[in-house]
């Protein structure tokens, strides 16, 4: 019996070690970036254009570019994603077609990001003749975050109790009225969470924008959606691998800005989800 207990202790200790092996490096990565990046974070760094071949100055155009791209991606993906989620949660019955739709969503989520880049290049840049532009990049990122938005919105819609729908229908409201006035308003926090997670993903991805929009060095702001733009993740890639002798401070500073952007966005999503759970009315 003693033997069995001892075995259990050893096993649990081993499991604990494995867990530490994941969690500790995560903490170290975040701490390292904050510690080394914080000194670089000045007002000038955030608001100035890159200078001296990106070895000095700031990262303002990259921040702006990322904001444009992310906004564009959400504008493209939200209406389609939300409608798709409504279809799956409110209209779809258990048929082969819907099984295929779900499988397609899983696949869309699993396509390697660089393949999205290729696809965006072939369809938007070359075939649609949008060129390397914010438009092409946004559309590519939009399709990439579509599965995230669909999945989160669908969960949110399905969490609205069935009885609300029944009550609304029994009062003579049509199906669409029920969705519009009862289901959607109660699913909004979940939908917002999905959108925010999509934003986080779109802001951090590099491969899909490599050939569709990203400019190596463009020290002015884009004027229209047909312009190229810099973007934070690509900028970090460029200054860490393509440009020699960049001050470590600038690299860490850029990494910190990108990381904080993505983590803040995720944190907001978590807070919304948490608050919504607490004040749920049913």
């Amino acid at each position: 019996m003693m033997n069995v207990r001892l075995k259990e202790k050893i096993a649990f200790f081993f499991l604990f070690l494995c867990t530490l092996f994941i969690i500790v490096p995560v903490g170290m990565i975040v701490v390292l970036i904050i510690k080394k990046g914080l000194p670089a974070l000045t007002w000038q760094f955030l608001t100035d254009v890159p200078r001296q071949g990106m070895r000095a100055g700031g990262i303002f155009p990259a921040i702006v570019g990322t904001v444009y791209l992310v906004t564009g991606a959400v504008v493209c993906a939200l209406p389609i994603g939300l409608a798709a989620a409504i279809y799956l949660s409110e209209y779809a019955k258990d048929t082969l077609l819907n099984r295929i739709i779900k499988l397609a969503i899983v696949n869309l989520a699993g396509v390697p990001s660089v393949v999205y880049g290729l696809f965006g290049l072939a369809l938007f840049v070359v075939w649609c003749r949008f060129g390397a532009s914010i438009l092409s990049g946004s559309l590519t990122l939009g399709i990439m975050i579509l599965p995230i938005i669909i999945t989160a919105s669908r969960e949110a819609l399905e969490a609205v109790p069935h009885s609300f729908r029944e009550v609304s229908l029994s009062l003579g409201a049509s199906k669409w009225q029920t969705i519009r006035h009862i289901v959607l308003p109660n699913a909004i926090p979940g939908i917002i969470t999905g959108v925010i997670l999509g934003i986080g993903r779109a802001a951090g991805e590099t491969a899909p924008i490599l050939f569709t929009v990203a400019a190596f060095y463009l020290p002015k702001l884009p004027q229209s959606i047909f312009d190229q733009a810099m973007a934070l993740p690509y900028h970090l890639y460029v200054i860490s691998t393509q440009v020699p002798n960049v001050d470590e401070k600038i690299r860490y500073g850029t990494a910190l800005v990108l990381l904080s952007l993505v983590l803040c966005v995720n944190l907001i999503a978590i807070v919304i989800r948490y608050r919504f759970r607490k004040q749920k009315k049913w």
């Binding site: 609300f164 009062l171 003579g172 006035h181």
Partner: protein
């Protein structure tokens, strides 16, 4: 004239045969009580009258259900459901304010005018005997009301759509005796203007409010007669057994 006429109605959910060969009429301005043990098909019958059963997957039916001489499948679904309102077993307020709950139906039917909505809300709440209790907090959440108040709010909400028939699906199953008495009193008062079908587990409630009473068992209509006769001289011994509490 009959409000509803049901002919040879059969309902299945997948392989479950929920109702078998039901034939009956529901008169104008009566309260028809339907009693029977669990799974006897009484709620299925009730939900047939405004076609809510069709929301369930694998629903199938045969036979005819007529309202005012017209088959219900030929009537616009939204119009039918407005005509035939339902009160569910549990109070189910929508996650809106008291006012918006009551105004929900009329708004969905296209009434936008503030003064008309105000008028409908006040009238409906008065009819459901809850106006005095909520008139000072019309814009607070309906979830803040007690269970009994919520159920009467639900009645008001149904009345606001201007129905001709009101279906009650065990409306007092979650309520205490005082709230139950209030809901029953409301029903009796509504009888003047509406046809009421009441499904209940509570045999005494059927005896208190029903003009006629129907007894369902295993998806079949066993007996239908005036409430007096059902409770004093039932023809079928299964009815007798049920109302005496021998099974249920």
């Amino acid at each position: 004239m009959d409000k509803f006429k049901i002919e040879q109605l059969n309902i299945w959910f997948g392989k479950i045969h929920a109702l078998r060969d039901i034939n009956l009429s529901i008169y104008n301005n009566e309260i028809l009580s339907i009693i029977g043990p669990a799974n006897s098909g009484k709620t299925t019958f009730l939900r047939m009258l405004n076609r809510l059963n069709e929301l369930e997957p694998y629903f199938r039916m045969s036979g005819r259900v007529l309202i005012d001489g017209r088959e219900i499948q030929t009537i616009d679904l939204e119009v039918l459901r407005r005509k035939v309102g339902i009160i569910f077993a549990l109070p189910l307020p929508l996650p809106l304010s008291i006012y918006d709950n009551v105004a929900y139906g009329p708004r969905m039917h296209g009434i936008r005018q503030k003064s008309r909505l105000d008028e409908i809300v006040e009238r409906s709440l008065k009819q459901a005997y809850i106006w005095e209790e909520v008139k000072d907090r019309l814009f607070s959440s309906a979830f803040k009301l007690s269970g009994g108040q919520q159920q009467r709010l639900c009645i008001a909400r149904t009345l606001a759509t201007d129905p001709e028939v009101i279906l009650f699906d065990e409306p007092c199953s979650g309520l205490d005796p005082i709230s139950t008495a209030k809901v029953e009193e409301t029903m009796l008062n509504l009888k003047k203007n509406y046809t009421i079908v009441l499904v209940t587990n509570n045999v005494k409630q059927a005896a208190r409010v029903g003009d006629r009473t129907a007894f369902f068992l295993s998806g079949e209509l066993i007996e239908l007669d005036t409430t007096d006769k059902i409770f004093t001289a039932p023809k079928d011994k299964r009815t007798d057994g049920y109302i005496r509490g021998k099974f249920g």
